[in-house]
Amino acid sequence: MILLSRSEEIVLLAIWKLEDNAYGVTIRDQVSRDTGHEWSFGAIYKPLKKLLHRDFVKKTGSEPCAERGGRSKYLYTLTDGGKEALREIRRIYKSVWSEESKIAFD
């Protein structure tokens, strides 16, 4: 069973949503939009490094581009393991929340 921390999970989802345009800036924007409050880069990179380390995402250098002042940037994409992890998470959520209608929310 794969367990990810909440922030890792959110970042992983953001990368998945961004498809082939996931890098520092876009990931932060996406995560901020998803969660509704602004994240710092520090808060993004920490889970990102863990994900890299666990081989859920991989990074590739892009072509040098104008908005980085002629430097290349690193693009992050999900690996198969990453996709597997997301599926796993969804499965767990589903089963954990399967009887949600019975729980009373105020």
């Binding site: 520092g24 710092s40 990179y45 980085r68 690193y74």
Partner: protein, 875 residues
Amino acid sequence: MTFRSDKIPRPGKFLLRLLLDEDDYHQIAGDFEESYRYKITATGKAWACLWFWFMLSKSLPGFAWDTFYWRGVMIKNYLKIALRVIKRQKLFSVLNIVGLAVSLTCAFLILLHVKDELSYETNFPKADRLYRIQTNSKYGSTFRNWGASAPGLGPVLKETLPEVENTARIRHLGREILSYTRPKGTAKRFEERGGFIVDPALLSMFDLEFLHGDPRTALEEPGTMILTETLAKKYFGDDDPIGETLLNENRKLPFQITGVIRDMPHNTHLRIHYMISMATIGSIIGNPEYFNNRTWKAVFTYVLLGPDRTAAGFHAKVPEFMKSFHAEYPGRQEEILLQPIRKIHLYSKLEGEIGINSDIAYVYIFSGSALLLLLIAAVNFINLSTAQSFKRIKEIGIRKVVGARRGQVVKQHLGESLLITALAACCTLLLLYFLLPFTNQLSGKGIVFGDIVQIPNVLLFLLMLGILGLMAGIYPALFASGFQPVNTLKSTKDPRSGTTRLRKGLVIFQFVISIFMIFSTITIYRQLAFFHDQDLGFDKDRLVALRLYGDFRQDVIADTEALKTEILRHSAVSHVALSSNLLGSSFSNERLTPVSVTDKNTLPMLRFMRVDEDFIETAGLTIVMGRNFNRASDKKGAYIITESVADALNLEQPLGVECNSDVHGEVEPIVGVIKDFHYASLHNRIEPLVLEYRPDWTGYLLVKVETGRFGEVLEFLRQKFDEIAPDHLFSYVFVDEFFDRSYQNENRGYSLFRIFAIVALLIACLGLFGLTVYAAEIRVKEIGIRKVLGASVTNISVLMSREFILWVVIANIIAWPAAYLAMNGWLANFAYRVQINVWTFLLSAALVTLFALVTVSYQAVRTALGNPIDSLRYE
């Protein structure tokens, strides 16, 4: 929008750079920049900036944690490796640490000494405004630069010159006998130095701190005295001394104690032990009027300049001032100048100094030596480390392959050298703790280990450590980090190549310094031996001088014969005489005026000494013309002059010339001429000396004793004195010892220099030893093969040591001229000196070569004796 303004703020960039490694930095800074630019277009620059700093401050803790964590991991690894290296290469580590520790210790001790020398007078809050008056006088063709000045000068200066805020005069007393008699008790009697007659203004000018008594009134009345804490304890114990009376026995004057001050700091030229009020002067010098005299160099005048006044302003007014000051003495050629008190200790060598001052030259010499020692140790370190880094070539290669950048390898190696320096520092502290009492003895200072532990000293020490660690570590670190991983891992290259030339140079440099120091030590030693053994023209080795004072002195002078016969009864005593001064002390400056000369301003200053009829024979002086003094015919006084006096006064036929004296104004004839002799230290040329027959002006009994029997004679004399004058303090000096005190600077310099020389040689040999061991290690197979092919032990030993010995020879060639020039410069300080001879060159060379040879050949022979199987079988 300009291109520049959309970059993120520099400090932020710098912070990121500091915390992130290269890769992450570019990525994250790029992210920041992109978002920042977007923010600028969206919200404007100010908001963007605010946003940036907010984001950055939120991100930084995370980055920092990561960085430090991973750095910590690396540091742990570095430390582990470093300790392993130290452990694995025990010999090299020990050589390194010992070399560093010894040189650090020496350098630090020297710096402490130098710091102390430079700190003189700084304890007086007004030191920067305090000056002593120096008087430069010209008498005929002779010059005298006096530290002393006329007693009438101080008050007039204060009155006339606006620059002068206050003045104080002090007069130095010699060795005085003080005693305290308790009611219904026995007397405590001691001979005291450090007595001064002072103006009350001195107390406020030097801010002397009172423990008892009132500084405003303590020195107003005649017959009052202020003691230092130590002296008060000595006479009165824990009792309150205020109001008690001390008796000055040689002057027969009672003094009332009106104050006790804290002891003077050790770093001052003004070593006051007790002070007597200036109002007492009348009863000490006889005529109080004489104390307004404007020509007599009788006191030291200290001047406090106003807060915003300069010495230059003072000097500008001096010529006019002196004209009016000496209006009644036409033809007098004299000027005064201000000598900052802070310069007295290291620069002043004037006539009539209170004590022997140190010399700035020694401060330079010592600091230079400290630096050289550190340099030698650093060189040692460089040599040993670069040699060692070949052994770690694989480690460095692997590190690089795994991804270490050059900077990281440099940091790792620098860190290691700092670690070794730190270990050396621990040894240094231990060494310092145990060596301090010993070095205090050498330098004549009272530094305690507790005194050293002060913030400035600790900082100094850390600074030295840092500099040494970096100096020693930077080259090996750069060197080691420069290996190409491919080459290091192939490891087919001859590991000796590349640095041999540098190492050779460094070893030679070390030996140059060693030879230089040994050469200097030998020369200094020879000069000191010369001081000691030089024929002074009189017999200093067998003379004891006994102090006479008070009633006993009067008795002795009234009937000298009785005492002399009594003393001469001892079989070891051959002569007894009376003299006014100790040979080796500074004699009085007076003029001798032949009655035919009218203007005595053209006459030179001469040295005077008063003696009785036995003095010439006792001192072993040679009469070249005329006769000795005669008790019967010279009752009214007579002179015997040295040959140089005859020259100075231009007397072709000196015998029988009647002469007038400055001091008592009586006319007496010259009855004899003696050969010049060294009655003062050999620093200066012999000055003309006049002996005057005046037994009633003497105060020392000179006793000539057979060599080796001083002990029994002193015991005999003590008993005799106790018998004749039971209350008389028995105090004696050996003339040769007293004479040698003039050379205390040179002696001290020699003791310290000798140690530097040994340490320098030791460290250089440590380094050489390390290199030989290393050379033997890398050539172990070669030697094995040579032995198998039939080389003898001698062959191999020679092979191993030839190169090293060649280095030492080159070092000699470089060091000789430098040392020769330096030592010639030093010797120029002395009017009488040794010549640097061939033996000095040969001895220094031989000594160093011998040490190097022993060091090298130990390892060479050991290698040569090794069984070739051991070195070859692992293939």
